[in-house]
Symmetry: C2
Subunit: 248 residues, 2 copies
């Protein structure tokens, strides 16, 4: 029996968060990579820390605060207009090149996204990419005021779609998100965009590393959290075949 | 009225977690810095993620798993004996040079540590450093099966010492820990070991950076989580004067 729904993470899975690098580089020439990486690392840290501190603020606040942090620690002064211009890219991130075709090929299934993004951020993003016509639901953790990987966030899939976890294939490129979804009880496909071989090769020169390499080392390799994905795929284009089978 | 108790974070505050670098470098020559930094970054990530996933395992497990992750993604094979030898350093971390004198100078106050460490790890650590004779209590979050910055972790101070938050000065060098303690309602002194000026200067060469520089960028500068420390000090030796006053 096929999965009844395929639910996607948004940031890093359907949309390339690294696509902010062009904007950060334009705003601060020579600093684009380090801003992009520290910003993303801190953005996620703040979602976890605020959730754990029971001090939820939505992803728009966290995204802005983590950018403010990044520019401050790099000693790069920014006015409100510059901050706004950089952050605006989050409303128009580049989709991965194979995202549209993969979604279209899976239209027989119900399709949704479950994201840390605020409803306003996600609404703008799916509209800008035209995915709003392909997705049956755009689910934001904001409804529960806690970020992934809290089980409460993943529970929103069943509450929104009315489908049991066993009927859902969850898709993410983020290892911590894969582990969180598995811990919750979903079937999970992990998009492994950086192979272990490429990762180890990039780290051979260990005295100095590119910020992007450090980002990949921290956030693209499967975590040691006691869980493993059901499916390990290289790209979104591998999904339609998996979605039509069901052997989790 | 002076604070009745001064409660210290352990890892990074009383004890220098960077002192594992000598051991990681010895085990994997040329890779000591990158192992040390990724290990520590992932160790904390795993405490936050496991807490949020409601999948607590103690700090000994998290410390081992994060080291396994680090060596795997760097393509460095390790047998159990090598893992054990590296991890053993966590039971004998170097105290900061001014830690003993600062603790001794504050003996009129009740002194304790509140740490993510497991009871066994903390017991070994305070004994190896001789701080067991200076501390009135060694408090592990393990009693609540959740890591800092959960409010449940900070609540252990009152439960253990029988003192209200307003009677306690909490001390940490970890910005996320400072914010968590402030959110809980404690008075907090932040040990700012890396000045903003030093941080920005280290990041001027942004194309390639040392892993230690990236670590400092991620984990030594005050976070944007809506809280600020009551006291901002440069070293543990600044504490005794603060502890004897009480104007939080």
């Amino acid at each position: 029996m096929p999965f009844k729904a395929v639910v996607f993470d948004a940031y890093g899975t359907l949309y390339d968060i690294q696509s902010v690098a062009a904007v950060t580089e334009q705003a601060f020439p020579g600093h684009g990579d380090i801003i992009t990486q520290i910003w993303r690392i801190k953005q996620l840290e703040y979602t976890w820390l605020r959730s754990l501190m029971q001090r939820y603020e939505d992803f728009a606040v966290v995204t802005r605060d983590s950018l403010i942090y990044t520019l401050r620690i790099l000693g790069l002064p920014a006015d409100a207009a510059t901050l706004d211009r950089i952050i605006a890219k989050y409303l128009d991130l580049d989709p991965y090149p194979d995202a549209r075709a993969a979604l279209a090929a899976m239209k027989p299934h119900r399709l949704a996204t479950l994201s840390n993004g605020s409803p306003a951020m996600l609404g703008a993003l799916v509209k800008a990419s035209g995915f709003d016509t392909l997705l049956d639901a755009v689910i934001s953790v904001d409804a529960r005021q806690i970020f992934k990987p809290s089980p409460e966030a993943y529970a929103l899939i069943e509450q929104t779609l009315g489908l049991a976890p066993s009927d859902v294939l969850f898709v993410s490129s983020n290892p911590w998100d894969v582990c969180g979804a598995k811990a919750f009880g979903l079937s999970v496909a992990w998009i492994e965009r950086v192979t272990p071989q490429a990762m180890a090769a990039a780290c051979i020169k260990t005295e100095l590393v590119a910020p992007l390499t450090l980002f990949k080392a921290l956030r693209t390799q499967m975590d040691e959290l006691g869980f493993a994905p059901d499916y390990r795929i290289a790209a979104l284009s591998d999904l339609p075949e998996i979605a039509s089978q069901h052997e989790p």
